[in-house]
């Protein structure tokens, strides 16, 4: 259960301050798949970075399973990212000279898991995201965009996080591949009971998620829908 309370993040640019996130509050249940839509520059990435402890809010708090991020020191925030969060980026952000398996093993290595165990889990995860087994050992800069994003999703899942934050995961992919990725995310949230929050500006993709939020002028509003799953 993720609770976001009155989150504010402001930036100073020159003599004026902008508030891309200005009093955002919402709750997400465990295992839900939600999306955030909004115009470019509306503050979606800023909000996501606050939820993932990559950035600190000007005010407000994020409470994950009862633990407030506001009071945590940097070391604990690193641990939070390692244990509780999985990131999926628009640019995939894999380590290019490492193989797919090695990339997936990284978060597990940082968490101190034994080598044999992390190798086995990495292979299982790559199978789940349907990466061709013969590509498991291939360096990720030799994989296609869709394949790279599958590896990135497997890496995000590595430490069984409570929350997966995906920032425009289909932004660099063609329409069909993008659809596959969204389907993958939605099946994973079902199978793993993982909470997934996807940022997208693609309305049709947003339609496929259980809940859909819109970020506008720093405020988050939920789009009410009828007859959809979850």
């Amino acid at each position: 259960m993720i609770v976001v309370k009155d989150l504010v993040r402001q930036f100073k640019s020159g003599d004026r301050t902008i508030k891309p996130v200005n009093g955002v509050s919402f709750e997400l249940d465990k295992g839900s798949l939600a999306s955030i839509v909004g115009k470019s520059g509306s503050g979606k990435s800023t909000l996501l970075s606050l939820l993932g402890a990559l950035d600190k809010p000007t005010s407000g708090d994020v409470v994950v399973d009862g633990v407030s991020l506001a009071g945590l020191p940097d070391g604990k925030l690193t641990e939070y990212r390692r244990r509780d969060i999985g990131f999926v980026f628009q640019q995939f952000n894999l380590i290019p000279n490492l193989s797919a398996v090695d990339n997936v093993m990284l978060p597990m290595e940082f968490a101190g898991m034994r080598k044999a165990a992390r190798l086995q889990r990495a292979r299982e995860l790559l199978e789940q995201v349907q990466l061709d087994p013969e590509k498991h050992s291939r360096r990720t800069n030799r994989l296609s965009g869709g394949e790279q994003q599958r590896v990135a999703i497997a890496r995000a899942l590595a430490n069984e996080p409570k929350l997966i934050l995906a920032d425009e995961p289909t932004g660099n992919l063609d329409e069909q591949t993008g659809e596959h990725i969204i389907e993958l995310l939605s099946s994973l949230s079902r199978d793993h009971d993982t909470t997934i929050l996807v940022v997208t500006h693609d309305r049709s993709l947003a339609q496929k998620t259980g809940r859909c939020f819109r970020l506008q002028q720093g405020r988050l509003t939920e789009e009410v829908r009828t007859g959809l799953r979850r």
Partner: protein, 484 residues
């Protein structure tokens, strides 16, 4: 995949760049190692030189240093007193004689009398006995000597150089340096009176003598047991007999011309010098620390040592700076990647360690290549350093030695007190040393020195890599999300 494996992998990410970096590092590390090897070899040589002759004191009769003659001769009893002074390891007495060739006219009286300093007062000590011999001197009288002679004693119309004969209590020359016997053997027991002698190479050549030949001093026949090489013309125009034999020839059984005192260690030389002086009395004896030219040699080698140490440190620092700059460049280049690692939960120290390890991989490769360079270059570098630093000394010393050889005929004996007496003898030391050093430097690329050098290189590399590694801690993972 572990941190180490990742570091090794990253080190080879750009193979051409890695090769270039390793090559540059290898030059710096190779230079550092070569300098360290040179430094060690020179240091060992300096120690050896100091140990062999630097701990000697020379005792002369008081006033014997001057041109006035005078003073009471040293005695065997005083040698015993000296031997009992703390830190003295040995006392070797010498008795100097002047051998005058019997064919020289007009000197018959001089040849049999004991002089208390030649009339003109050229002789350094008053105790030098002149005795006759059938040997011919190997050194011609110099013009300076002639001039001095003209202004002084004029009793020798057709002058020949006297040959110096020294009675020695051990197998050392008149300055206390071990004799280098080139053929034959030493005199055996230097404390017994025997009709045996050692002659210098040039004197032997001049008189057609070899080991086993005989010659006479004061009509007594001496058998040559060995030929020695003192390294100088003057030093080789000399004869050594046992101390008691020389004392008998001079008819002064208990007298000594000089005593060569060996001190147990270099640190004790100064205090022992004072102690010996006190024990003998300032009115009886002059104690000097001989081998001034050795000090020059040692100090020139010391400067080689210092130069090589400075060069070692400079090359080491260069290697450190190269590493630092390369790693700063790599950190900047992989900023985004570092942000990703942090975003997915890597600790700052994990990332810092990864970069330090990566730099060590580069340094390890550089050290291997550098060690090869060092073993090939050490000899050349050391010889270049040594020859450029010792030529100056060589020129000056030779010049001085030459001048002295000319001035010698007036009765100066080696070690007899003229400042140059010791010069001639000591001169072989530093130069023999320098050439030996080259061989020893080439031979001394020892695993121990290399290991010490490489340890230093690694220590410096870690320091150099620490700066960029700490920089990674300041990269914020948010930059990843913001994109470029």
């Amino acid at each position: 995949m572990s941190v180490l494996a990742r570091s090794v992998g990253n080190a080879f990410r750009n193979k051409i760049r890695t090769a270039a970096v390793v090559a540059v590092l290898a030059v710096a590390i190779g230079l550092a190692l070569a300098m360290l090897v040179a430094n060690q070899a020179v240091g060992a040589k300096v120690q050896e030189l100091n140990a062999s002759v630097g701990t000697t004191l020379t005792v002369n009769p008081a006033g014997g240093q001057g041109f006035e003659g005078g003073g009471e001769p040293l005695t065997t009893a005083e040698a015993e007193t000296t031997a009992s002074v703390a830190n003295v390891t040995s006392v070797v007495g010498t008795k100097a004689l002047r051998l005058q060739t019997t064919t020289t006219t007009g000197s018959t009286d001089a040849a049999t009398t004991q002089q208390a300093g030649p009339g003109g007062g050229f002789g350094p000590g008053g105790q030098q006995a002149t005795v006759s011999t059938n040997l011919t001197a190997a050194v011609d009288a110099g013009t300076l000597g002639n001039r001095n002679n003209a202004s002084g004693t004029t009793t020798l119309p057709a002058r020949t150089l006297p040959i110096t004969a020294t009675g020695i209590g051990a197998e050392v020359d008149s300055t206390g340096k071990a004799l280098e016997i080139t053929s034959g053997t030493g005199l055996g027991d230097y404390t017994s009176s025997e009709a045996k002698a050692l002659v210098g190479t040039s004197l032997a050549e001049k008189n057609g003598l070899t080991v086993g030949s005989t010659f006479t001093i004061q009509d007594k026949t001496f058998t040559i047991t060995g030929i020695f090489d003192a390294g100088t013309a003057f030093g080789n125009n000399a004869v050594y007999v046992t101390l008691p034999e020389a004392q008998t020839l001079a008819e002064t059984p208990d007298e000594l011309s000089t005593m060569i005192v060996t001190v147990n260690s270099l640190e004790n030389v100064d205090s022992t010098k004072t102690a010996v002086q006190d024990a003998l009395g300032t009115d009886k004896a002059d104690v000097t620390q001989g081998q001034r030219n050795l000090e020059t040699a040692v100090s020139s080698l010391d400067s080689v040592k210092n130069i090589s140490m400075i060069a070692f440190i400079a090359a080491l620092a260069t290697a450190g700076i190269i590493i630092m700059l390369i790693m700063v460049m790599l950190v900047r280049e992989r900023r985004r990647e570092i942000g990703v690692l942090k975003a997915i939960g890597a600790r700052n120290r994990t990332i810092g360690l990864q970069f330090v390890l990566e730099s060590l991989v580069l340094v390890a490769l550089g050290s291997v290549v550098g060690a090869v360079i060092a073993s090939l270059a050490s000899g050349g570098i050391a010889s270049a350093l040594i020859s450029s630093n010792t030529t100056t000394t060589a020129a000056t010393t030779t010049q001085r030695g030459g001048g002295l050889a000319g001035a010698m005929p007036n009765g100066t004996v080696p070690g007899g007190g003229m400042p140059g007496g010791g010069m001639g003898g000591g001169q072989g030391g530093p130069f023999g040393g320098a050439s030996q050093l080259l061989t020893s430097v080439t031979a001394s690329v020892s695993p121990g020195v290399l290991a010490a050098g490489i340890t230093a290189v690694f220590a410096v590399a870690i320091i150099g890599a620490l700066v960029p590694a700490l920089l990674t801690a300041r990269i914020r993972p948010i930059e990843v999300l913001r994109g470029e």
